[in-house]
Symmetry: D3
Subunit: 248 residues, 6 copies
């Protein structure tokens, strides 16, 4: 099984770590290949970033299609580009945001999502709503750390995550925590342990593992998204500054 | 008052009609200027079309910002690009989709939206949901005519709209009808008259007029979208195939 | 365009200020005339006040109908009497409550309404619900000042409004504020400025302006409420202590 | 136990039948007294009728208060005047609409309400929503017979009710039926029998019995509505065409 | 009228007090008989307890059926066993949980439920949701006292209830309180008085009285649950460790 | 990985087929063992059947716990016994109902569930609601065939499923179909093919595969349900007709 991970940014230095983390999260026999965008932004924290990112994702989706991979994961908690990628392909396309939330909804009464910066809260709440999961949401809380600074001091980041998780549990009634940034991939066990030390028995979901495993299911079962919901668009004239993306 | 209408397609031949229709819909003293995209698609009927459209909208939004217009309308019923444009600007940005639905919600018990093709129904339903208006929605129904064919035979189009409206009223309980394509701009009175002939006293909302007038309100009142909901994104490195869109 | 403002109280001294504020809020060419009720209460803060107010509104609505105005605004945040006035008339009838909330819903993630006294909170929450806007509501908070005391000390009132707004922003996540009393008409800029001084970039909506401008739209577009939702009632026998309101 | 039934119309000829039907619905030891309004309409089928009715209800509520009854039922399926009566009194006040719906919600998966005329459907749907019972509602359907004509031909009325109930069961999935007009008081057994003949085992709720019995509970238990939700309004100046209703 | 109270535990010592409290809550002429389970647990505080309880309830339901009682109350706030009992019987079956909540919903803006221990909160919230009453819920709060310890020190229990109620009122906006354990039967007046002493005018519902009285209504009116919602199951082969429960 | 499948009925003849189907659905290296109940019913189609089934499931859950399996699947679309099993265990417990619905929600706009008999529809709708997935539900439709008759004539069953699916697609707008009975395990491809022949490109989810694969994820990731939502119940006295289930 060949799974393409699209890092929907131009930050290529993340590739090796994502390669490692996704490979760790994958079942044996799954081959992972991470690609970054040629065109896009260094991180995704606004609608502007989405705008500059989605065409680059299309490029990579079509590339993946030609190469004949079995599934495509778009490595971003807002599941950026998933709908368009689903339109363009018959093979499964998913993102870690929805994958984590669906698992969280199954495992506990209510979940909280920890996003990076305050200004993302409305976007994340809208995404939860789009997945029709608002009644399972305890809260969205922000760490107050931008994506690109999350690794500046791993200890500070970890402590902040645990502090904010504690608030989500104590004040919002969260039973499950989703660290809402794929750069936090692999940290779930440490967060869970940190919360346990403070006396909280909380499930923490690793979004990378969640999405990798859900992808495995879809490919194994020959399942994919509905082409009634995401029909292949007809060819259509268009102008584009870069290379031609689609047959017109 | 100077209002920029962004035709979010590359179909420049629509410009003159849109110019005329929006000017008709505007109050005296409002100056309308319509621009089309350099980069984009000929019409918008899929997530792929959105992907190819939104960066082109950003170009035109920034252009409008430099030119010092008072407000920006993005001429599309899915309100494509409105969130990103709102991030980039402090002046009001709106689309005819939400504008029509908010008015419809005020005027009657439930409304129906007539979209062009069947495959758009889930996208339109999601948009209604995003506006938190689902409980006011009677139905979304499709005309079965692609955007670019809506003017092939105006009589057929009109008859189809009236037929589908009648179904929305009879079967779904619609009290208000929104013709869900801006290419139908100006047709509301004919639709309302056609329904009256068949015995239905139905409010039909013209999306162009709705959005033009709501824009007028916002500019007049010095109101705009919340910059907490749509904060100006920080400058950030990016790659882009065309001209540089944003200062990085 | 001739717009009748119904002050749905017997407090005639408010007329001149309302006349001034609504005229300021109106576009050029709009003629405003404010009338108060002959029968009603000095202010509206309970269901009892509604009971005593609505028949008096009917009087004024029918009067307006005879005089041939173009639209009727009922100057009260609970939109008291709007449904009955819509039944009785074909011309547009709206109130500042729904008008403000629809605009607020368009402009930001969630809004808060500041009502006057604690006991009104359930009534305002029910009104938000009736407009199907609960999912856009951050909170309803009370100023703790009765309507008739709002002008006793304008500085205290303004400070209280800013204090309560701050709570709505900090604790409830409001991005938009609606001062929920028409006696606060015209204060929106001061409230917004006061919040800015404290570091909050919050949209504050002036209900008078909102309703005046939405009315302008409806009249300009020849739009009105659905007569399926608000059908003209059949003539019917009735007794009434005052002058005959309706043809029986 | 002394229960006052307010017939919220001026149609006094209904009194004797209501007296009989409510007495039949009451437990032994309950004394029923029916009063009609001096001021009001002959039947209630619009917001206009509500406007002309509610002050007359206030009169009768205050009268009941002075006479020292134990509870007040307002005999109308829209529960007209219940909120204001609750404000004015500490003793329980209820209407047959909410009473029937709460019982129906307890007894089956979904219920349908049969109202008299088509134009009442939005009003009844709003009432269901106000009681937060929309998710238990199968449908609101109209008989197509105005209140005052319901008794013109009892056989036709009964057949129509059974026909419309059958549609509610077959098409809307109703498991419980509420005949939505108090003039249908006492007919529930016949409707249930008629449906049984056609093969449907449907619960039909008699609104008069429902409200009479819920009132009995409230009085027996010393329970009443919350005075936080319905606080006694402060005295306040007012003008009124008839006799003085309230101490000012 | 003969009403069977099923104490759904094996704690027989509760019988005499329940007999007394339910008899007090019943109208004259109602005969109460309390039975406990032969098989079951000493109290119900988990899904495990439900599992061990429901078959024992079936025994008692079938026993009641043979004895020809008029109605069955299952004395537990989670309404354990009500659905299965409704399937097995045509006579009315209800529990104090739903009965209290339906009354509370009628009487005030929002209600809070006080459950015994923290771990029951998700179960109670799910029950509220199952009754479609979530929008009327202010909160579920726990007393932090297990069922079997509620009577260890009645003064401590009462004080705790009043303290937690105060929080529900102050922080969650509750207007009505439901003491969510039938072992608190009869305490409502003391709780209401204690809250009054602290300045809160709060309705407190006694679940035993609520359910006893709703049962009285159902029997009096000849009403019962819908057999479409709860159809009598067909006979079917089964194995069972104890005596044969059902004809197979 | 050792997964225990609990067939929650006494119909042991199903074991071999379930063993085969689940093994087929499992990844390599997963060892499946199917057990049936000693005490329970031959099939599950009512609340009575649930009552007689859940204690038998507890037996098998505790057995599985002692044997040290890695996860427990309860093979029933109503997910019968899942909450109690989750309380009793720390290892993952899931059912095919929720597993299928979560996948369906991810893959398309709305899904329909095909249950066996009409009388199960309210139970299935309640289960969807309990999972907070009602807004993703197109419909629940019944095949009109009891579980035990599903294999009487496989061709008739298949044709019926395809017919009912077509209705779900055409009338209810389903984009994804869930055959809602585990006895239909393995039939998804045939159903999907049959629908394709009729021109419908519909995703059909195999519940056995869905639940087997979600279980694989949970075990692989070391994830399980929240013990705050499903806390281990304290030991407690109880009586039970069969062997002692729990340490008291």
């Amino acid at each position: 099984m060949l799974i393409r991970i699209i890092n929907p940014t131009i930050t290529e230095k993340w590739e090796s770590e994502k390669q490692k983390n996704y490979q760790l999260a994958a079942n044996p026999g799954v081959k992972i290949s991470v690609v970054s965008l040629e065109n896009g932004t260094v991180s995704i924290e606004s609608y502007r970033d989405l705008a500059l990112t989605i065409p680059g994702i299309c490029d990579k989706v079509l590339e993946a299609k030609l190469e004949g991979v079995d599934g495509v994961i778009i490595d971003n908690m807002l599941d950026v580009g998933v709908p368009v990628a689903r339109e363009l392909m018959h093979i499964p396309v998913i993102g870690p945001g929805e994958a984590s939330m669906r698992l969280a909804a199954t495992l506990g009464h209510r979940f909280s999502i920890l996003t990076t910066i305050e200004s993302l809260i409305p976007m994340v709440e809208k995404q939860v709503d789009k997945c029709a999961l608002s009644s399972k949401l305890a809260s969205v809380r922000a760490l107050g750390i931008p994506v690109l600074a999350l690794r500046d001091d791993p200890q500070v980041t970890l402590k902040t995550i645990i502090d904010v998780s504690e608030k989500a549990v104590e004040r919002d009634g969260a039973h499950v925590i989703i660290p809402g940034c794929t750069s936090l991939g692999g940290m779930a066990p440490k967060i869970q342990a940190g919360l346990k030390e403070r006396g909280y028995q909380i499930i923490v979901i690793d979004p990378l593992s969640a999405v990798m495993q859900i992808m495995d299911i879809l490919v194994s079962l020959g399942l994919s998204h509905s082409k009634l919901t995401y029909p292949l668009p007809d060819a259509k004239d268009y102008n584009w500054p870069g290379l031609s993306l689609f047959e017109s």
